[in-house]
């Protein structure tokens, strides 16, 4: 190796650029939609692989695109597998459990209980495997990514987190979501490099409690106001008094909806502030290998615009096909990698790549893009 190469081996960390075009993506998705309809829904697996290739392929790191290496057939088999391994056993279980207990009410209660526990466990497994699948199908300059585990351990971990959420009525959200991020990123490998996250939940509490506190005030105020101004419309629905005028009832229902929409929007704006803080806390405290550091540039206003845009495209109906683009693009445009690295030290992943090992079982797939 020459002296020149030796001296210049260390480079700045790759710069992330997203060059996707919403119009191109929309056309691509229109084609997918048409084929999906023609094939009675079966094509959507190939359509998904196709639009992911578009999103990945328009995300450049130092000029070289990310590659999505998953296939439609893989996703199709994944769906069949989920039917065989999850849907059918669940159905049979709910069938048989009911029969095991003489009293149908008890049987139903126990069955539902067991199924709910299982579902709560599988939510975590599914989330992990979705990360695992996508990372294993993602490569850059031929270097693959992956997750080190199968996700069953994470399922149990996540089950505990959800239990905490349940007990605290969602008040533990900052702690829970940071714990989930730290645990998930711990297993991520980019080539041979590990992600290491040391995100802290403490800086998030202020913004999170602000959401709760500021939401409670308008909610209570509106409820009280509504009770005294429109409560009468509902008071005599029990039949003890004369039924309300239809217009009176309609106005009351309209006011109720309007109130909740306005409060919901206020809540979303407040939550956007928390969400931006959460993204910064988690990404900005995640290291890649020993020399690189992830960073996200996102402000509350970005999140609000993102929410509003999503609502707008969802309301148009057909615009929903843009959602994967929006979800991916939102992140891909804001993520940076700081620091430097020696490309020779970014080696191939020891984890299994596409077409290897349990490729089919990997396709347990559920994500925003």
């Amino acid at each position: 190796m020459s002296d020149y190469e030796e001296r210049h081996a260390v480079e700045a960390a790759p710069r992330v650029q997203f060059a996707g075009m919403a119009g191109d993506f929309f056309l691509l998705q229109l084609g997918n939609l048409a084929l999906t309809i023609i094939t009675l829904g079966i094509y959507r697996f190939w359509g998904k692989a196709k639009y992911r290739r578009y999103l990945w392929g328009h995300t450049y790191l130092d000029g070289d695109p990310l590659e999505y290496r998953g296939t439609g057939l893989e996703l199709f088999f994944g769906a069949i597998l989920v039917i065989l391994l999850v849907s059918i056993p669940f159905g049979v279980l709910s069938f048989v459990m009911g029969a095991l207990f003489g009293d149908p009410q008890t049987g139903l209660a126990i069955t539902q209980g067991v199924l709910i526990l299982l579902v709560y466990y599988l939510i975590g497994v599914g989330q992990y495997r979705s990360w695992r699948y996508m990372l294993s199908r993602t490569s850059w300059r031929g270097i693959r990514s992956g997750m080190t585990e199968q996700g069953f351990g994470f399922g149990a971990f996540n089950f505990g987190l959800q239990l905490v959420q349940l007990v605290t009525l969602g008040l533990a959200t900052p702690w829970v979501s940071v714990a989930r991020w730290n645990r998930l990123t711990r297993d991520v490998r980019i080539g041979n490099l590990a992600l290491r996250s040391a995100a802290d939940h403490r800086p998030l509490w202020g913004k999170f409690l602000l959401v709760w506190g500021l939401m409670a005030v308008p909610l209570i105020a509106f409820s009280v106001w509504f009770y005294f101004n429109h409560g009468a419309a509902f008071a005599n629905l029990d039949g003890t008094r004369a039924p309300p005028e239809p217009t009176e009832l309609l106005i009351a229902i309209g006011v109720l909806y309007l109130g909740f929409i306005v409060i919901g929007l206020i809540g979303a704006a407040l939550f956007a502030q928390y969400w931006a803080a959460y993204l910064k806390e988690t990404w900005n405290n995640t290291r890649l290998g020993d020399t690189m550091q992830l960073r996200i540039e996102v402000e509350t206003w970005d999140v609000i615009k993102f929410y509003l845009g999503n609502i707008a495209v969802t309301l148009t109906g057909i615009g929903q096909i843009l959602l994967p683009y929006r979800n991916w693009g939102f992140m891909a445009r804001r993520v940076w990698i700081d620091g430097d690295y020696d490309p020779r030290d970014l080696e191939q992943s020891a984890l299994e790549g596409p077409g290897q090992g349990d490729g089919i079982a990997d396709a347990f797939d559920a994500s925003g893009f």
Binding site: D64, G91, G98, A99, F101, L108, R141, G142, I143
Partner: protein
């Protein structure tokens, strides 16, 4: 010497870029760098075009990448595109669609026989709780009618259309206060007669005929068939996503319940023959419900039944039934071979009609 291009080679082992000189020469692409020179067959390469670059892949080394500036694209056009929808891709998609369609068709056509064969095998211990849950929901809304005299009359009527060799599963007939004109058979032998049906019946024979029809569903395990069908289909197609599952399930239900209704009618005729009950009552009933202006009424009753009872799928009197005219004719035809005797007497009929009253109507 042909023109060459500068490229960056990634060997799949690390992210290190190796500067190479790439020269396409017909059926081969020569790659020359510090590590030496290699000629790679065009058929072993795949091409992926990007905005400003071209990436070459090797079929024998999945992690090997060679990137060139886009001006090289023209000279590399003989290399097959990586994600071109080749015949193989379309074949995969075609096979997947065909596979799903085949499984669907299997259910639809051959499935009938499989489902019919499997239905008697589902133990009552499984179906009973399901039926009881449905029944609880349906009766729960309005409450059960069980005035003692009316109940006794109903039992007398039931005895007349009960199979001589007994039911294939324990049967329980209950009356619910709902004014819907309908009767349904739920899994596990749970038969529910809506008070509206009793009100709409002008003779005991009409009601007895409907009950015999419901017993036909019981004897042929139709509710078990519905359970299997619904379960299998919804799991299969809803698992693949989209709304095809619900659509297919409804279609299947329509296609298959028609046959089931005919079967239940046949059984009903046999039961009425055995119990010397005139099928003319049922014939008259369909006449009123189906004919002329009654059509609208029948439709309304159908909608009503749909709204009122989720148990529709298990075989109710109206849901997805064959044309009322042909049924009427069938029952009228069957009446010829039956020496009918009254099902219950006038006093019993009066008591039965008052089964939902708080106290029997003939008492002050």
């Amino acid at each position: 010497m042909p023109a060459g291009f500068d490229g960056k080679l990634y060997d799949g082992l690390s992210a290190r870029a190796q500067p190479v000189r790439v020269t396409p020469t017909g059926r081969f692409v020569a790659v020359e760098g510090a590590a030496g020179r290699e000629s790679i067959g065009v058929d072993m390469l795949r091409r992926e075009n990007h905005a400003a670059s071209v990436t070459l892949h090797r079929t024998d080394q999945p992690d090997w990448r060679l990137t060139l500036r886009s001006e090289a694209a023209r000279d590399l056009s003989s290399i097959q595109k990586l994600h071109a929808m080749t015949g193989r891709h379309w074949r995969n998609i075609g096979l997947s669609v065909a596979g799903v369609a085949a499984v669907g068709a299997l259910f639809w056509f051959g499935g009938g026989a499989v489902v019919e064969a499997a239905a008697p095998l589902v133990p009552v211990s499984v179906t009973k709780p399901i039926g009881e849950q449905y029944a609880a929901v349906i009766i729960g809304e309005e409450g059960e009618c069980k005035a003692p005299a009316g109940r006794a009359a109903l039992d007398a009527m039931i005895a007349r259309v009960t199979p001589r060799d007994g039911f294939v599963m324990p049967v329980r007939v209950r009356v619910t206060k709902s004014k819907t004109v309908n009767a349904i058979t739920l899994p596990g032998g749970e038969v529910i007669v809506f008070a509206g049906l009793i009100d709409a019946s002008q003779s005991p024979e009409e009601l007895a005929g409907v009950i015999a029809h419901e017993f036909g569903h019981v004897q042929h395990y139709h509710s078990n068939e519905a359970l299997i069908r619904q379960f299998g289909f919804s799991v299969f197609l809803e698992g693949l996503g989209g709304n095809m599952g619900g659509l297919a399930a409804t279609g299947l239900m329509l296609a298959n319940t028609r046959g089931a209704e005919r079967e239940a009618d046949g059984e009903a005729i046999a039961l009425m023959k055995q119990g010397n009950v005139s099928p003319l009552g049922l014939s008259a009933f369909f006449d009123r419900m189906g004919g002329g202006s009654g059509e609208a009424k029948g439709d309304a009753a159908r909608r009503d039944a749909k709204a009122n009872a989720d148990g529709d799928d298990f075989g109710s009197l109206f849901a997805t039934h064959p044309g009322d005219a042909s049924r009427r004719a069938r029952f009228a035809q069957a009446a010829k071979g039956i020496s009918a005797k009254p099902v219950i007497n006038a006093a019993q009929w009066q008591a039965l009609r008052a089964i939902c009253a708080k106290r029997p109507s003939h008492l002050p």
